[in-house]
């Protein structure tokens, strides 16, 4: 049927919005849509809440699409919601997770940039806010969080692809997400953000080489979840702290969420390792999503069992 949502294809923003409405209508007992704010260009920022009404339960916050050109990321968030609603009551692990936890899923964080990457520039990365005293547009939302925001490396030039914005949380999108997470901090036990590419699973810190107090725990979770991921198609992931595994970055959502008090925060850099880069063909979407599901379900299961 024409309104069927194919999870094996990339979807533009309009279709993703329609999909959110469809999921709420189809699974009213399990899916609700929360407007957490709006973007620089006044597009809505929607979070889908998957789970039962009880707000006190442990929850997972997942965001996709913080960088516009990383299209496989929003594709995974859609897949996650689809699988959660489809396999609840059928798959033992998913049923147990949804009986005891809530999942907050932000399918597209950087809506304006995502629209721009569909309509005007496939290689766009930042959001689309205007910068004072500069002709250059956009802020890198993953440098705009208040986590060692203005330290090395230098990201103060609005024309840079990694421009950090005028101030921490200067962007409407960042403010909306941080406000939502702060207001749900009691229940959110793990924060997961999805990017591409490189096939890497990262945990704090990016802004320092210092290891977080529970780094052994984070390392163990990362090791086991990347092993789980590889069982499906033998896709190999590297894992570790951002700073030593990739490079030093400041202002990231991962570090901010960790320092706020969420002691399990992870960033997936999904497929591939550069053959296609940001242009991962649609024919790899399903495999990428299926294998990533295994890792995410392990993380959620671990959190359910090992956090108070």
């Amino acid at each position: 049927s024409p309104d069927r949502h194919s999870y094996a294809k990339y979807k533009n923003w309009e279709k993703i919005v329609a999909w959110t409405e469809k999921m709420v209508n189809k699974h009213p007992e399990m899916v609700s849509r929360i407007k957490i704010g709006s973007t620089a260009e006044d597009n809505p920022l929607y979070v889908l809440k998957i789970g039962k009404e009880d707000e006190r339960r442990k929850s997972v916050f997942m965001d996709c699409g913080i960088h516009a050109r990383e299209w496989i990321s929003p594709a995974f968030c859609q897949w996650f919601v689809y699988q959660a609603t489809k396999t609840y009551g059928k798959n033992k692990i998913m049923t147990k997770l949804l009986d005891k936890m809530n999942f907050y899923v932000l399918p597209v964080f950087n809506v304006d940039g995502y629209i721009w990457s569909w309509t005007k520039n496939r290689m766009w990365r930042k959001n689309r806010s205007k910068n004072q005293n500069s002709k250059c547009i956009g802020t890198d939302l993953n440098r705009n969080f208040n986590a060692s925001w203005d330290s090395f490396p230098p990201t103060g030039n609005p024309c840079d692809e990694t421009y950090r914005g005028q101030a921490p949380e200067s962007e409407k999108e960042t403010k909306a997400v941080t406000a939502f997470i702060r207001s749900h901090l009691k229940s959110i036990k793990v924060y997961i953000t999805f990017h591409s590419y490189s096939q890497v699973l990262l945990f704090p810190y990016g802004y320092t080489s210092k290891l977080p107090p529970n780094h052994e725990d984070l390392d163990k979770v990362a090791k086991i979840s990347t092993n789980a991921l590889s069982t499906r198609y033998e896709t190999r992931y590297v894992y570790g702290p951002i700073e030593s595994t990739m490079y030093r970055t400041s202002g990231s959502s991962l570090d901010w969420a960790y320092d706020l008090g969420i002691k399990h925060t992870f960033a997936f850099e999904l497929r591939d390792k550069g053959k296609f880069g940001f242009l991962l063909p649609e024919s790899q979407i399903k495999q990428t999503c299926k294998e990533t599901m295994l890792a995410v379900k392990f993380i959620a299961k671990y959190i359910l069992k090992n956090t108070s």
């Binding site: 294809k9 496939r122 290689m123 490079y247 296609f276 063909p281």
Partner: protein
């Protein structure tokens, strides 16, 4: 604004073997418009790191000449970005 096209734009993969080669890439970034795919920006480039960047058709010849001249190892991951952009939609609508 018409959508940007990326005809015959290329994505290079370079593995700087030492600080000198890393600095060559950083210098090329100052005089050419390189869109870093990995790492996110020129200031992250370091020795022994896999570096991927996109460059226009016109500037790709300059880049290739500079890399050859400095005997740096590189490969071209994508020869025509516009082609790859169109090829990513390789699943028929259900």
């Amino acid at each position: 604004i018409a959508p940007v096209r990326f005809d015959r734009e290329k994505v290079f993969r370079v593995k700087p073997q030492d600080e000198k080669e890393a600095n060559i890439i950083k210098d090329l970034a100052k005089t050419n418009e390189l869109d870093f795919w990995y790492p996110d920006a020129a200031h992250h480039v370091a020795a022994n790191m896999t570096v991927d960047f996109r460059v226009s058709e016109k500037e790709s010849q300059t880049i290739q000449a500079a890399l050859d001249q400095n005997k740096m190892h590189y490969e071209i991951l994508i020869h025509d970005l516009q082609e790859e952009i169109e090829k990513q939609f390789d699943v028929k609508e259900d």
